[in-house]
């Protein structure tokens, strides 16, 4: 039996493949079986088991010849926002329900080159707009966890990379790609009890990632633990001339530099993140995280990020504005669906009315309004100025500390359908992740415990720009101190 393979970490699986304890084909097969057993979660828009098995046999051939690549044979899930050559890429939108890219995104190509094997294209909020994965035109993703008091009620996986997070948490993939514009890897990571990482803006190439808000969009990864996530992030990072905002900087060996002492490291704790109405359990878990780092020798520093409360409204001006511009490309002419009208103007109007879902239309219209003549300065320029103040807050805070520790989200996973009719309430779910996004900083969410409902809660570590090394090192130390061993009920079931 190979069912236990789905519980392995990437690091352990690489060791097993190297020492020929099992083959890549067995490893990939075990994950495909689990993917099929978890169909009810709706984590994938397109499953690619045949392609995965073909690549697995190529991995096995390389391993047999002693030519094993760094991540050879590791099954992953690919967020369906990454263009993948000859494989349907939808962005979870009806607009792209027939879009088959003729090229491969830089990030997914790097993962292919490293030997990873995608088992399918993971579900997401349409065009990555959402924090619950209920905005997908392919239906919501269910969280592999259920609450103790309502075990019959499906919960959201978080968003926008909800399918990727659910796939890793349920053992359908050992790691996954996400993208993070305002929290889309960190928040689903927190909701699903796994690690979610967003690097510094510019660390990864955005080429071939379907654009949402270009000044914020960044690739990210999910994994079962910090070490695996560091391995994956290292793989997808690096300069790419095809993305004008990609950084010409060396990529440190994130996973090799993890296991260092954090003695004397200064941990910033921002008082503005103690928001009204946050459940006591989250405050408790945060305080415990602070104490554990202190016990490990770190120095705790109170810091202030005074413009925190303006981050979410700033984001909801900037991101929709950029989205309205980026999504102007969907005109029914060059790719995607087309609904014919009596003339070209009506063809545009009908195509976009039919192709976009409610949240996408909402954001395009907000953005169009904010960018329209007479309102541009009052909304977009104003938001860009506040954005600078938010970024400056972090610059000042990082004069006193090396990393910042916060909760990842103000709640654990909520029921599917809850908050759907209250956009602002939904937007506030990203209150702790958006500030770092606006400042372009790296952030990681690690599972820190379960709440009284038995649902995972995450803690976020925010690093200085380009200092993912210290962020990962802190995350690793905290992960070891917390010793979170819980796995989702579906993963447990699949291992039997």
């Amino acid at each position: 039996m190979t069912n236990h393979l789905i519980s392995l970490t990437i690091t352990a699986a690489l060791d097993g493949l190297k020492t020929k304890k099992f083959s890549a084909t067995e490893l990939v097969n075990a994950h495909i079986n689990q993917m099929n057993a978890c169909d009810n979660l709706n984590a994938f828009i397109t499953k690619t088991p045949d392609l995965a098995l073909r690549l697995a046999s190529e991995s096995d051939a390389r391993i047999a010849k002693g030519e094993m690549r760094p991540l050879d044979g590791i099954p992953i899930a690919m967020k369906d926002l990454y263009c993948t050559k000859d494989v349907l890429t939808t962005a979870a939108s009806q607009m792209l329900k027939n879009f088959i890219p003729t090229y491969e995104s830089t990030v997914s190509q790097k993962l292919l080159d490293a030997g990873t094997i995608s088992v399918g294209k993971a579900n997401l909020d349409e065009f990555a707009m959402g924090g619950s994965n209920t905005n997908s035109s392919y239906g919501p993703v269910e969280n592999p966890w259920r609450s103790k008091s309502h075990p019959d009620k499906p919960l959201v996986s978080g968003g926008s990379s909800g399918g990727s997070a659910a796939a890793v948490a349920a053992g359908m993939a050992m790691g996954a790609t996400g993208t993070d514009t305002g929290g889309s890897t960190r928040q689903p990571g927190s909701f699903c009890g796994i690690v979610g990482v967003k690097p510094t803006y510019g660390r990864c190439s955005r080429w071939g990632i379907i654009a949402f808000a270009s000044s914020l969009d960044q690739a990210g990864v999910f994994a079962k633990n910090v070490e695996d996530s560091a391995l994956l992030l290292k793989t997808i990072s690096g300069f790419d001339p095809k993305d004008s905002t990609s950084a010409q900087k060396d990529v440190p060996d994130f996973s090799g530099l993890l296991k260092q002492d954090i003695k004397g490291l200064r941990i910033g704790v921002p008082k503005e993140y103690r928001v009204d109405g946050m459940p006591q359990e989250i405050t408790t878990i945060w305080d415990k995280g602070v104490q554990l780092l202190k016990d490990a020798g770190a120095v705790i520093v109170d810091v202030s990020l005074p413009h925190t409360k303006y981050a979410v409204p700033t984001y909801y001006i900037i991101a929709p504005s950029e989205a309205s511009s980026n999504l102007a490309r969907y005109d029914g002419v060059r790719y995607g669906v087309r609904v014919e009208g009596k003339d070209l103007q009506e063809t545009y109007d009908l195509t976009r009315a039919a192709g976009f879902g409610a949240e996408v239309k909402r954001r395009i219209m907000i953005g169009t309004y904010c960018l329209s003549s007479g309102y541009y300065d009052a909304y977009y320029t104003k938001a860009q100025k506040v954005r600078r103040l938010i970024a400056n807050d972090f610059v000042s805070a990082f004069e006193k500390c090396d990393v910042i520790l916060t909760p990842t989200a103000p709640s654990s996973a909520f029921a599917i359908g809850e908050n759907d009719d209250d956009p602002i309430k939904m937007y506030l779910g990203d209150v702790f992740t958006i500030p770092a996004s606006l400042a372009g900083l790296p952030g990681i969410s690690i599972p820190a415990g379960l709440d009284s409902q038995g649902l995972p809660l995450g803690l976020q570590i925010i690093g200085k720009a380009w200092d993912e090394v210290t962020m990962f090192k802190t995350a690793y130390a905290l992960e070891q101190a917390i010793g979170f061993k819980e796995i989702s009920p579906l993963l447990k079931k699949g291992m039997v």
Binding site: N98, I100, T102, Y103, Y201, G202, S215, P241, T245, S246, A247, H307, Y310, P313, Y316, I317, S324, A328, D331, G332, V333, R334, Y335, G336, V337, E340, G341, D343, L344, Q345, E346, T347, Y348, D349, L350, R352, F356, K361, R362, I364, M365, I366, T368, Y369, C370, S372, A378, Y379, A383, Q384, K385, V386, R387, R388, L389, A391, P423, I424, L438, G440
Partner: protein, 95 residues
């Protein structure tokens, strides 16, 4: 600031999205709420603050002005709803 149905109709027109009367009733109060909530940014003093458009402080690179890609007309047209003889097809726009 007030987002009424007329305003939504105008925005939707600019965004090239056809909206029905039901859509107007649905979106008008939502957009009003969201933009009204975002008004709180006005209370922040941003005098003398430079707008932040490039967070990474990476200067945009220039490259030599030479062709470095191309000859992919067939691939480019693969996903178009309609194409003829190597061109995209759109409705007639001049009578």
């Amino acid at each position: 600031m007030s987002i009424d149905k007329t305003t939504v109709q105008k925005i939707a027109g600019l965004a090239r999205i056809k909206v029905s009367e039901a859509d107007l009733n649905y979106y008008a109060p939502q957009l009003q709420n969201i933009l009204g909530w975002a008004e709180q940014l006005q209370e922040v003093n941003t005098d003398g603050i430079e707008p932040l458009s490039n967070v990474s402080e990476i200067a945009c690179r220039l490259r030599p002005d030479v062709v470095n890609d191309g000859g992919n007309a067939r691939a480019v047209l693969t996903n178009s709803p309609e194409s003829v003889e190597g061109f995209f097809v759109v409705s007639k726009i001049i009578e």
